[in-house]
Amino acid sequence: MGMTRREVLRWLVAWSGALVTASPVHALARLRPVRAFTPRLRAVQITDLHYGYRGSGNPDPAASLSQALYQIQQLNPELLLITGDLIEADADPRVRERRLEDIWERLQGLRIPLLAVPGEQDALMDAGALWQRVVGPLHFHESSGGVHVIGLDNVSRGFLLGRSERDWLAQELRSLDEGVPLLVAAHAPLAWYYPAWNWYTYDGPAASAMVARFPHRLFVHGHVHQLLTDEVGGVKGFGARAVSFSYPLPDSRHALALMPIPMAAGAVDTGLGLRDIRFAGTFQITDRPLAPLAGSVKP
């Protein structure tokens, strides 16, 4: 009895499937109890390093930076998340470039996986061109320990996300099961906390609405240089202390220019700090003040 070529192929495909199904490896894979993967993350967030800053807000910003880097080493996180303003802006693009290259090199020297979103000091002057050259993409979606980390750029074209980034975010989130833990980071708050100081994201409420469907979510930001909690669309935002200098709270009755709070030389309570972020079933954040540098260990 002769078989056509098509029948032979169908016969081969059918029997190869049966053989694979019956193979011991395949059976083991099916019978072995499935150990559920539990997302876990130990991260540290630092923000607003303002590398190159000189002013009354911090008489010794280099010492504060060294303190922060030392504390990060002690905490030994799996991920270092940096929420913008790595540098202090300058009119001269060469100065900005040198500062960003220097600080990025120091951070890479920690030998901890880094994820960073830009601040307006890093990216507003040139719409993020320098950032992309030195650091990488302006916004991103990465996974760390099973936690999905979304980095938003709400500064490089002004304090907004814009249509294309909103569309990108919607597409990324659509692909995720809503049970996954989601850590969202940006420089500026998504809420309209105080637009007169650019403490807002124009289309932040639209982004919040997309994030709100994830029960395990955490949104962290910088820019405000102090511990602040804001909320829009049911999504809380947690502003963090800076590594460089601190800002006062806005007073909506008086439209005053934003200035750093002056810091006395040798101040113990500097208003600076970093944040420990953990996920083990739920997100937990612990804000830590910058501690005095122990010993002379400098990364």
Partner: protein, 121 residues
């Protein structure tokens, strides 16, 4: 009660009533904050004021080193036509943000009208 007692009680009651009235409407609470109804002004407050200043004179409330926003109150109207203002608000010119992806065309027009109105003050 004697006539003097009645009088004293009446004075007390009037005093209490006046006191209650004063407590209910303290002087400082009678002033209400001005409500900005002009859409152009509302948009200016949110999107422009931080860098161009509350009066549009370039006195920024959010100073960034090396970045100075121009004084909108002193734009040369021959060079800064409404069409040009609309285009800059829409497309931006770093570090001036591009608001075209978050503001509607009608809102950009309202904002441009408000900025043009600032020039005359």
């Amino acid at each position: 009660m004697t006539r003097g007692g009645v009088l004293a009680a009446a004075i007390c009651l009037v005093g209490l009533a006046l006191g209650a009235k004063m407590t209910a409407t303290p002087v400082h609470a009678r002033h209400t904050a001005p409500v900005v109804t002009d859409r152009g002004a509302q948009l200016y407050r949110v999107t422009c004021l931080s860098c161009h200043g509350p009066r549009g004179d370039g006195h920024s409330l959010y100073p960034v080193p090396g970045m100075a926003a121009p004084a909108l109150s002193h734009l040369d109207p021959r060079r800064w036509t409404k069409a040009r203002i609309i285009e800059v608000v829409r497309a931006g010119s770093p570090p001036m943000p591009a608001f075209g992806s978050v503001l509607s065309g009608a809102d950009i027009l309202r904002l441009a009208r408000y900025v043009r109105a600032m020039e005359r003050h």
